[in-house]
Symmetry: C2
């Protein structure tokens, strides 16, 4: 009987696989093949294609012209076709990291059909892979290892301020279910992102599991909110259905309140429904780009809420009616409200005010101006400048470093 | 200042979008476009393609030859090319349902770059969309509506039997965080699947949210296990990394115990860590295909554990050394252990023993034989026969109907 069923199941699978192969060129290619020496081979079966290229963030950058002037992007390289219709490309040895790539077949983007691992960034998917060389390297930190794992939940909460049910992602550390109280890190995404961004592109749960297992970070709850206050949830996860996401917001309606105004709804929900350690010293907030801007402005609005603040490639907004003709530093100095709010943040004496940015980030100057302002007032902060621009590679590094510094 | 930042952000996005468009033919196409009348238009920008086709489960079936004889598959249709390099195809009016499709460009599978919604089934992605016409139809049941939402968590538990940390998906109903105790449905996936299958392809959390909101199902906890006992978690979510999933299991190592042997570890974890209502009358189990087989055999092994049993297109195994030459019904009648185990299940008088299968399912005969056996013994069960085969469309329907029948 068992044998009959197994045969039947095999038949089903075989015929499905066969018809796919015969029709669509499905195959058993391995791609990407990550080798011991850190080189990676990509393969695509495309016998009818004239040209197969790939681009990925492990390749060098090139400058290309655009209507707005020269812009930087990842190099595009050609794959070579073999006699079997399989195109291949092999990289040099790559350092430990999570990388992303896509094929371009006769001018059109194509995901790698041999690689089921991909991430969505706004409306675009790219395939991903990880290079891991030894314990504790970046690739290792971003991987699922044989360590205790926290739980990751998609949770709905009521926001009285936004008059809406909203979704967030909550990481509870390994052992949470056994009891105890934990500090909370609020981890905010950038424009175009949502409550899934840090968990997917950001590898937040893997980073936290691994840092906690190594004793480098304290066990903590990590709350990944949705910063688009006109939307309930990530694309496809809210009641506005399976629409095409875009950079400029996730719903057509105007929000009834801002992220800053509505943020206490999140903190109240978390502190009511999770076993949290209370008070400023047990709360941290950080975010990337727009989420760095949110962290900056939420902290200004509630200066005694967080003892740890992380601005990752932050979009530093001043709010109010600013004069675009003026120098940003000059405006900061002239804006009395801004001055008072920032003064209140530092008067509350945060244990860590951390600013990190890549040296080719388009927000580099804005952050430099803000640092000049802080310096002129003698406010204490820590600063990290890395290579690269406004990219997830940097934000994963910043999260790792920030998580190690808080609640210690 | 705000304006400057907005301009900078726009510049960044614009130049990224521009370089993508110029290079790769990215565009602002809407695809699929679901219209009021239920027709759907698909669009793909592919000016260099010679032939663009699509296949999807909303199309008629056709028989094609295979090395194993004729097999049934979804029709493949041609898109028409416009002057702008955009290929289009419009369906007739479709009935409410969740549908899946993919493009085939010059013989190669291609996901729809305008549709970010897709599901993975083993190693293959297809795009999805939902047709929804009115409240309560299938499309509506599978959609996220403005109703209270349960939480969906990826939870790790220790399995002493399997000597492994393992991952499962747990749905807690709306209001769970406010208190109370709940019955538990254990919901099992098929071969090639994992703890994510019911939550993605199965739309389990949407179905439960909607049925509970309509008062058609009782609020319950739904536990979606991983039935591959040699693996910790879904592909990419365990410590064996980002490997290519295949139908025949998710890891190379031999499992130390079976799903049946290890299942009490799951129940013990859930009843210890969640506020559950205890006892047989508050436990249900169901599953599809292999998971239907697991539900069948777990129930035989622990006849007093569940009051509700659902076999969806179940792979009915008898276990032991069966003679493949023999008729299945004959074997069931001759196998004393099988007879004793099934007798114990029905002696425990389950409130519902529910068998459902499609009339073209390759497991139809096995289920017919099992029903003949049950009939011959006078054991009470309910039976549903639907159109169609071994497909998710049927399993979503079965879950909906089963969830309405349990804990009432």
């Amino acid at each position: 009987m068992k044998k009959i069923i197994v045969s039947l199941v095999c038949l089903l699978v075989f015929t499905q696989a066969w018809s796919q192969q015969a029709l669509f060129g499905g195959n058993d290619l391995v791609s990407p093949e990550v080798k011991e020496d850190g080189t990676v081979t990509f393969r695509l079966f495309a016998p009818k294609a004239v040209r197969v290229q790939l681009t990925g963030d492990f390749l060098a950058k090139e400058k290309v012209d655009s209507p707005m002037g020269p812009v930087e992007r990842d190099l595009v390289v050609d794959l070579q076709e073999g006699n079997d219709g399989v195109w291949t490309y092999t990289t040099g040895s790559l350092s430990p990291e999570l990388y992303s790539y896509k094929f371009i077949v006769d001018g059109r983007d194509q995901l790698d059909p041999s690689n089921v691992y991909m991430c969505r960034d706004i409306a675009t998917y790219t395939n991903i892979f990880i290079i891991e060389k030894e314990a504790g390297d970046k690739g290792d930190l971003y991987s699922v290892n044989k360590v205790p794992h926290g739980s990751v939940s998609k949770v709905w909460y009521e926001s009285p301020t936004l008059k809406m049910s909203r979704r967030m992602t909550v990481y509870t550390p390994p052992g949470y279910e056994k009891g105890g109280r934990y500090p909370v890190l609020y981890l905010l995404h950038g424009a175009g992102g949502d409550e899934e961004a840090w968990a997917t592109l950001g590898r937040a749960s893997q980073i936290m599991d691994n840092l906690i297992a190594m004793g480098k970070a304290k066990p903590m709850i990590v709350v990944m909110t949705n910063g688009n206050t006109n939307s309930e949830a990530a694309p496809g996860e809210g009641s506005n259905g399976m629409y095409k996401p875009s950079f400029r917001g996730h719903a057509t309606s105007k929000p009834v309140a801002s992220m800053e105004e509505s943020f206490p709804d999140v903190v109240n929900y978390i502190e009511k429904n999770y076993r949290t350690l209370k008070g400023k010293k047990n709360r941290a907030i950080c975010g990337l780009s727009m989420g760095g801007g949110h962290s900056f402005s939420i902290t200004k609005r509630y200066p005694t809420m967080f003892d740890y603040v992380g601005l990752f490639s932050a979009a530093i907004f001043m709010g109010g009616n600013n004069d675009p003709q003026k120098n940003m530093l000059e405006q900061m100095n002239e804006d009395a409200t801004f001055g008072k709010e920032v003064a209140a943040v530092f008067a509350a004496n945060p244990k860590l005010y951390w600013i990190a940015i890549g040296n080719t980030d388009f927000l580099f100057d804005a952050n430099t101006n803000y640092r000049k302002y802080l310096d002129s007032k003698g406010y204490r902060y820590e600063y990290l400048e890395t290579d690269g621009g406004h990219i997830w590679r940097n934000w994963r590094i910043y999260l790792t470093l920030f998580a190690e510094k808080i609640f210690q």
